[in-house]
């Protein structure tokens, strides 16, 4: 899940009878499974929430290039290098569709970029963790993309049309990403002793941060109800986290790796795995900017933006000159 702690701007959920006719028609359309399109009337809160959510998702794709880019130049085979390049390229593409989807709500990509660079807008907590060995490329694909898919598959049915449609393509590519991550993990887990050690170490470091991706527990998640009524959030944080754990535990067993949670066990009554909560204090610290890589990630984005200024200005100036020359010729 690439959007966390999205603050709802609605003032609690109104019943249909409390709504004015415009809002009521809007809500009824959502309730009936209809889509809201850019030119349709929508409450301000819906628009603002979506901008934050889609923007945060887009920023996560962009910042998410960095921990994987960290290994492109050290990928161990030509094929792995090509696959990783393709994956990171997909992520930049996802960022692009999502910025476009957000732009249909009346915000510009430049504005969102400035808000990312100033720290005003957030990106997923997971990208503030370092990638230390090649097995981390496996763990990121398997766990991080795996967790993202849990949230993104239902978002294909979200109420906002451009977001739902962007999500269809994104989900197809994300499932390829997850498979390539699992494939790396398989090679590592079935490889030499050093490779198995790397694989286990990667799982140890990424397990709890992956669980944090779903956001705080439902009981502490104050913004969910309105987003769920608007169908811009389709499941609760705990539902998705449970689904992720239930799907991932057998995969870890298949790999012969141990999930770093001694309390983890299958509960015959519920039919689900019981598992330990992540350290939420750590999660809130990461959101506040105190994760292991927050400073580097934001500095890297700022450096790229600042050092690219002359390029953007140069290309714009050229486009302007070309236009003037064409007009003079006509």
């Amino acid at each position: 899940m690439y959007a966390q702690m999205i603050k709802s701007t609605g003032k609690g959920i109104k019943s249909l009878d409390e709504m004015d006719p415009e809002e009521r028609a809007f809500q009824e359309r959502i309730n009936a499974g209809g889509k809201i399109e850019p030119k349709d009337w929508m409450p301000d809160g819906y628009r603002k929430n979506l901008i934050r959510q889609i923007g945060q998702h887009a920023h996560s794709e962009i910042v998410g290039q960095l921990p994987e880019g960290n290994w492109i130049t050290r990928a161990p085979t030509l094929e792995r290098k090509a696959i990783l390049l393709a994956k990171v390229q997909d992520e930049a593409g996802h960022g692009l569709y999502l910025y476009c989807a957000a732009e249909t709500l009346g915000v510009t990509r430049d504005q969102m970029t400035r808000d990312l660079l100033s720290g005003k807008m957030k990106y997923s907590s997971i990208f503030n963790y370092p990638t230390l060995t090649w097995a981390d490329m496996g763990a990121v694909g398997w766990l991080v993309d795996g967790a993202a898919i849990m949230n993104q598959v239902p978002l294909q049915r979200t109420s906002y049309g451009p977001y739902a449609r962007a999500m269809v393509r994104i989900c197809k590519e994300e499932s390829f990403h997850q498979r390539q991550g699992f494939d790396i993990m398989m090679k590592m887990a079935k490889g030499t002793e050093a490779q198995r050690k790397m694989a286990q170490d990667a799982l140890n470091r990424f397990w709890f941060p992956a669980l944090m991706m779903f956001g705080p527990s439902d009981k502490d998640s104050v913004h969910s109800a309105q987003s769920m009524a608007w169908k811009i959030k389709m499941n609760t944080n705990d539902e998705l986290r449970q689904k992720f754990v239930d799907e991932t535990v057998p995969q870890a067993e298949y790999l012969g790796l141990t999930i770093p949670d001694e309390t983890l066990k299958f509960n015959g009554e519920t039919g689900h795995y019981d598992f330990a909560e992540p350290d939420w204090e750590e999660f809130f610290q990461v959101l506040k900017g105190n994760g292991p890589c927050n400073t580097e990630r934001l500095a890297a984005r700022n450096k790229a933006w600042d050092e690219g200024r002359w390029v953007r200005e140069g290309l714009l100036a050229h486009a302007e000159k070309k236009r003037s020359r064409q007009m003079a010729a006509e």
Partner: protein, 252 residues
């Protein structure tokens, strides 16, 4: 190390693609604008794909059991056969795109000539690669023109990049025994015959970019023969080859 000229020639093609693909991949996530991140990754991806084909064939021709990965990750600097131009560091975005343009213009001419190679496998790889490189050249020349004829600062940076990289252009057109053997076998053109077309294309692009081609045509050499690479290549290899070298028993 084999001295079969065909093996050498294939390593030259493969190493150019490998080294430049690696250099371009160093940009991941840090380009001046998102569209450029996507385009640079795309170009790196094409070049790594071409590397697999050229070095894969080189390994087969050599017949010593080395595949493309073995050649890419287990040779040291002196066995690399790329031209010096492609191993030059990225510098700023302008330097990266100037390097790309100066290489693409040669690369497309070379691949176009190789489509008529007497070796069918080489012709097939060239045909596939030429399609990709046509796009690379279109994009790099557009960028050189846009930045050369952009602002005062972008112009100044592009002229500096051109001045810096021009001494590495000549090596692409200097023939040696390997080239002579390839020409005699009808496999590849004499490098010198590509120069006139290259000068025409580069001249036109630089004129549109309002950039001045340096007068001195001095050419550094030693990359494609492997006799004297720059100091930069060794550093690139320490990063690129590290996992394979540190864990030689592993498969990935």
């Amino acid at each position: 190390m084999s001295t079969d000229p065909k093996f050498e020639f294939l390593c030259r093609m493969g190493d150019n693609a490998l080294v430049l693909g690696h250099r371009v991949s160093e940009w991941c996530g840090t380009a001046p604008v998102l569209e450029e991140d996507i385009a640079l990754a795309n170009m790196a991806l094409d070049l790594i794909g071409q590397t697999q084909l050229w070095l894969g064939m080189a390994g087969e021709v050599e017949g010593a059991g080395r595949d493309a990965d073995k050649l890419a990750f287990h040779r040291d600097v002196w066995d690399f056969r790329n031209v010096l131009l492609v191993e030059q560091p990225n510098g700023d975005f302008g330097q990266t795109m100037m390097r790309q343009f100066l290489f693409d213009a040669w690369h497309l001419a070379q691949l176009t000539a190789l489509i008529d190679s007497s070796d069918k496998e080489i012709a097939a790889i060239a045909e596939k690669s030429a399609k990709e490189v046509t796009y690379h050249l279109e994009r790099s020349s557009d960028t050189v023109i846009g930045l050369g004829d952009g602002t005062e600062e972008s112009h100044r940076r592009m002229q500096a990049a051109l001045d810096l990289l021009w001494p590495y252009v000549g090596e692409m057109f200097l023939g040696d025994d390997v080239d002579a053997a390839m020409k005699d076998a009808g496999i590849a053109p004499d490098p010198a015959i590509l120069r006139a077309g290259y000068d025409q294309l580069v001249g036109d692009t630089l004129a549109a970019a309002t950039l001045t081609k340096p007068e001195d045509d001095f050419a550094h050499r030693g990359g494609k023969s492997g006799a004297r690479h720059s100091e930069h290549l060794g550093h690139m290899l320490t990063q690129m080859q590290w996992l394979q070298r540190a864990y030689p028993d592993a498969t990935w």
